[in-house]
């Protein structure tokens, strides 16, 4: 797609909302699971669910990241340091950059929050 005409406003909103949302939606999941199954229950079923959710979220985020990377190339930072003119293309470029960076941030956040489920074995 031509960078100037890409529907970037949709892109801009989706990664930061959906990515973390998908993975954190598994939180109430395991919270309820542990509350109902008791403290000694094994985490395995919850782990599978959380990992699945995280994988979906990560896949989605990576897809968004690559999408905006392609649009954004060749640079991640350069033009940002210089003056940006007052054109709609500039705004699109700005939003794409935001989308790129926020999907990167979301990827890190999702990985971080998935780590605990990998090391724990029970609900204790």
């Amino acid at each position: 797609m031509d960078p100037g005409r890409a529907p970037t406003s949709g892109r801009f909103c989706s990664p930061r909302r959906s990515g973390p949302c998908i993975s954190s939606s598994s939180i109430p999941g395991f919270a309820v699971y542990c509350a109902k199954a008791g403290r000694d229950a094994a985490l395995d079923p919850a782990r599978a669910a959380v990992l699945a959710a995280s994988t979906v979220a990560l896949g989605f985020l990576v897809w968004l990241f690559l999408g905006s990377w392609r649009r954004r190339r060749p640079s991640v930072t350069d033009a940002d340091f210089s003056f940006e003119g007052n054109t709609p293309e500039e705004r699109h470029r700005f939003l794409t950059h935001m989308s790129l960076a926020s999907s990167a941030l979301s990827i890190v956040a999702v990985i971080y929050t998935t780590i605990p489920i990998l090391v724990l074995e029970t609900c204790r």
Binding site: P20, A46, F83, E84, P88, P116, L120
Partner: protein
């Protein structure tokens, strides 16, 4: 530029000095502030913003004095200045006032004052709403703070944990609950105003990516308020029901759970610390480029990380609850999330440092405070990283280490940046510069005093001193650090005293500052000095982020009124509404002038909350009706008034409509955002219902008879009917079917009223006793919530019907019915969820 006329052809009237003078006279007359006692009916952002700032600073000083009392008491072991009970009230009120009466309101205060200037607008879209919010804040704040003089202040810590806050008795807890709920409502009102301001009142040409960073922060923080405050309002609602009517939400012996309060409080409370921190950092984002004399390095990185911080901050709340016995998986999750938030926070700090390194730094008082802020905040952030690690927190929890941490983040993240902004923007508000010498002295007093006070507290905490103790015995090794802290507190006080002295001295001094004294590049510095009542002489067309630096003729064009709306031909207060993304002009918005109704409404609403504290229910209801009447009168006489002509020439060849309804209008946006906040509060109640379900093995309990499915089902169907009729009324009105519109509105009121009755009938007829157990209590709470909202829905249908009959609402001027239908969309959703939950869930559980 001289020959470009306002309509694009012919000689430009702005070339004629006589015309310009006449324009300025008209503008001055229109924007003139009322005189005498009527001065207090002013609603203009420059007035209200100033009062707001002064008031919240006053509350800060009051809370600061309480802080000094704390330090005086703790200076020596076995201190006896304050009794244990008074000490409890003092530290609770200190924390409460600092967080709720200073931290959040000062954001709103500064934003109300500055935002229109930063956006080159004449005012915010709803000036009377700001005034109303201010009066609510003032009254609520006085109520909460005044209680300590009657020995009745809240006394269970600023987060009011049950069961302590319930067992302790007294009305302190209720003063806290009702006083603060009242202020939170005002905060949400301000947030709505500010969000709509940033989205819709940017000057033409200011695309989203040219918005000043402060505007971005206001938008983000406004959004956070909309999602963070409602859970606390819902919590307050439940808590007040327990306090006043003994509904056992937090009483473990009757199926409740005190942890529910902790969740609701911290879902609010953690985002709140970012709500306090981000707007102050936003001031740095304006200050740093000016004193580096270059654009900010990495604009989009700042926006991104502000959004990231705001977003992630909603996933951290349980790090305040590490010691409640959560499963380790939750500990791990919240630890990881708490560490992750450091990334976006860090990006903002690095961008500021990079900007300074790439520019030539000019030394100044604002810059000094900015650097002090960065140093203190980084220290506070690092201890934050430490206590985000659960095992460390198990040791440090509820000790003076936490007190040290929170003051480092609050002083570094908010007090110091705010002082920087204060020195920086003082000329914009008063046309005078504060003293450089006194500023430097004040800075060093505050900086040194702060570190002397709070650095030793890390140690006191690690030595085992718990927070919230009114005294301590000798020989625990706590004497020296405590004494040092207390001495430091005196130095802090001296620092603030210097600032106040400087302000008084400067305001008395007739010398005025030159225009744009810091040689800044952003829009707000185009304003004349001393400031004019009208704000912007003409609403500029923006082409860059730093127009004063980038466009050499910008100021000359501005002074000659060569942009938009240089005049007030019709004698009305006006500003421009633009589109959200590219800021194309879409409407010339008439904003209201001085008015008494915001004050009347605030006083009546305050009376309602205060009387409820004392359980004087008849008077409470009476005050509620007065408040409702005042608000309806205000809406009827002051909003969505049909203009004398449909379109208006606003300059530079643009013609835009004056009246707008539906998704195009600012009123619809305000309603949408308000209802989103309301929805979040409602969802917090639903969360509470399911929270009880997770902690009980049988929920609903086996002996619970109600509410059955028939009542909720009937109510659901009736609400669908009422909603459909309202929607039909809007469509029929659009096609000018006068009679059918009125029939639909009238029938809608009827259907809604019967729906209310059906909803109440469910739990009432099945004999659910709300004081018996948390289950009936939460069912009733959901019902009460919907009934109250449906009541408002009926009133707004009635408002439309009356407006239609009196000719206020027509097919061309239909903002009221658009907003009412929007309200009903939300109402219908919450009503259906309620009927499904209370009527349907027991069937499947």
């Amino acid at each position: 530029m001289t020959s470009v006329s306002r309509d694009g052809h012919g000689p430009d009237p702005q070339d004629d000095p006589a015309i310009r003078r006449a324009q300025e006279e008209r503008l001055a007359r229109v924007w003139e502030q009322p005189k005498g006692w009527r001065y207090w009916t002013a609603v203009n952002n420059s007035e209200v913003g100033l009062w707001y700032i002064v008031t919240s600073f006053a509350f800060m000083l009051f809370a600061g004095v309480l802080g000094l009392l704390i330090r005086a008491q703790l200076a020596r072991p076995d201190g006896d200045l304050l009794s244990a009970e008074l000490y409890n009230q003092v530290f609770t009120l200190h924390g409460t006032a600092m967080m709720f009466l200073f931290g959040v309101p000062i954001f709103e205060a500064v934003a109300i004052l500055l935002l229109p200037a930063l956006l080159g607008a004449r005012d915010l879209p709803f000036p009377r709403l700001s005034a109303f919010g201010f009066w609510c804040f003032l009254l609520g704040g006085l109520f909460v703070c005044g209680s300590i003089f009657f020995d009745a202040a809240p006394n269970s810590g600023w987060f009011m944990y049950p069961p302590l806050s319930i067992d302790q008795g007294g009305i302190g807890a209720e003063i806290w609950l009702l006083g603060l709920s009242f202020i939170e409502v005002a905060s949400i009102a301000a947030a709505v105003e500010l969000i709509v301001g940033v989205l819709k009142c940017r000057p033409p040409g200011m695309h989203l990516n040219l918005t000043p960073l402060y505007g971005w922060y206001v938008l983000i923080v406004g959004g956070m308020i909309v999602f963070a405050f409602p859970p606390l309002i819902a919590g307050d609602f439940l808590f007040e029901l327990e306090k006043a009517f003994d509904w056992p939400f937090f009483d473990a012996s009757r199926g409740g759970d005190p942890l529910l309060w902790q969740h609701l409080f911290w879902i609010f409370g953690h985002p709140e610390v970012y709500i306090i921190f981000l707007p102050s950092i936003a001031l740095l984002a304006m200050i740093v480029p000016t004193f580096a004399q270059r654009p900010i390095a990495g604009y989009s990185w700042v926006v991104l990380s502000a959004i990231g911080t705001g977003f992630i901050s909603f996933g951290l709340w349980a790090h305040h609850m590490y010691t409640t016995g959560m499963p380790s998986i939750s500990l791990g999750f919240f630890s990881a999330a708490s560490e992750a938030v450091v990334i976006p926070t860090g990006i903002q700090i690095f961008v500021f440092i990079a900007t300074l390194m790439m520019g030539r730094v000019i030394r100044s008082v604002p810059m000094l405070f900015a650097l002090g802020a960065l140093m203190i905040f980084v220290a506070g952030g690092l201890t934050g990283v430490m206590i985000a690690v659960a095992p460390f927190d198990f040791q440090g929890h509820d000790s003076y280490f936490i007190v040290a941490h929170l003051h480092y983040t609050l002083f570094g993240g908010m007090v110091f940046p705010l002082m920087a902004g204060f020195y920086y923007y003082f000329p914009l508000a008063f046309g005078k510069l504060l003293s450089r010498r006194l500023g430097i002295i004040a800075f060093w007093l505050l900086f040194v005093g702060f570190n002397v006070t709070f650095l030793p507290m890390h140690l006191t905490g690690l030595l085992g001193m718990p927070r919230r103790v009114f005294t301590y015995p000798q020989n625990l090794g706590w004497e020296i650090p405590n004494l040092v802290s207390s001495l430091g507190a005196i130095v802090i006080a001296a620092g603030f005293a210097t600032v106040i002295l400087d302000v008084i001295r400067t305001l008395r001094n007739p010398a005025t500052a030159p225009r744009n004294p810091w040689n800044a590049g952003t829009v707000e510095w185009m304003l004349e000095m001393p400031p004019k009542p009208w704000g912007a002489r003409t609403i500029p067309h923006i082409e860059s982020r730093y127009p004063i630096w980038d466009a050499p003729d910008f100021l000359a064009r501005y002074d000659a009124g060569r942009f938009y709306l240089p005049d007030a031909e019709e004698g009305k207060r006006e500003t421009i509404v633009t589109s959200v993304l590219d800021a194309d002009p879409v409407q010339c918005l008439r904003v209201p002038g001085p008015g008494l109704m915001p004050i009347v409404a605030a006083v009546a609403l305050a009376a309602m909350f205060f009387l409820a504290t004392f359980h004087l229910w008849t008077l409470t209801v009476l005050a509620g009706f007065v408040a409702l009447g005042a608000i309806l009168w205000w809406l009827w006489t002051g909003t969505a008034l049909p203009p004398e002509k449909p379109v208006k020439e606003i300059g530079l060849g643009e013609r835009v409509p004056i009246y707008m309804a539906g998704p195009q209008s600012v009123g619809w946006w305000a309603m949408f955002i308000t209802m989103t906040a309301d929805l979040v509060a409602y969802l917090s109640l639903v969360f509470s219902y399911f929270f009880f379900w997770t902690i009980h093995t049988d929920f609903p309990p086996a002996d619970a008879a109600g509410p059955g499915w028939a009542g909720p089902l009937a109510a659901g169907l009736l609400f669908v009917l009422a909603w459909g009729l309202t929607l039909a009324a809007r469509k029929l009105n659009d096609r000018a079917h006068i009679g059918a519109t009125r029939v639909c509105l009238g029938a809608g009121i009827l259907a809604g009223a019967v729906g209310i009755a059906a909803l109440i009938a469910g739990p009432a007829l099945t004999g659910l006793d709300a004081t018996h157990h948390a289950y009936p209590a939460i069912v009733w709470a959901l019902v009460v919530w919907i009934v109250a909202h449906a009541g408002i829905g009926l009133v707004s249908q009635g408002f439309c019907l009356a407006g239609h009959i009196r000719g206020r609402l027509t097919s061309d001027h239909d903002a009221d019915i658009w907003n009412t239908t929007l309200y009903w969309h939300f109402l219908l959703f919450t009503a259906l969820v309620t009927t499904l939950v209370i009527g349907g869930f027991p069937l499947v559980a």
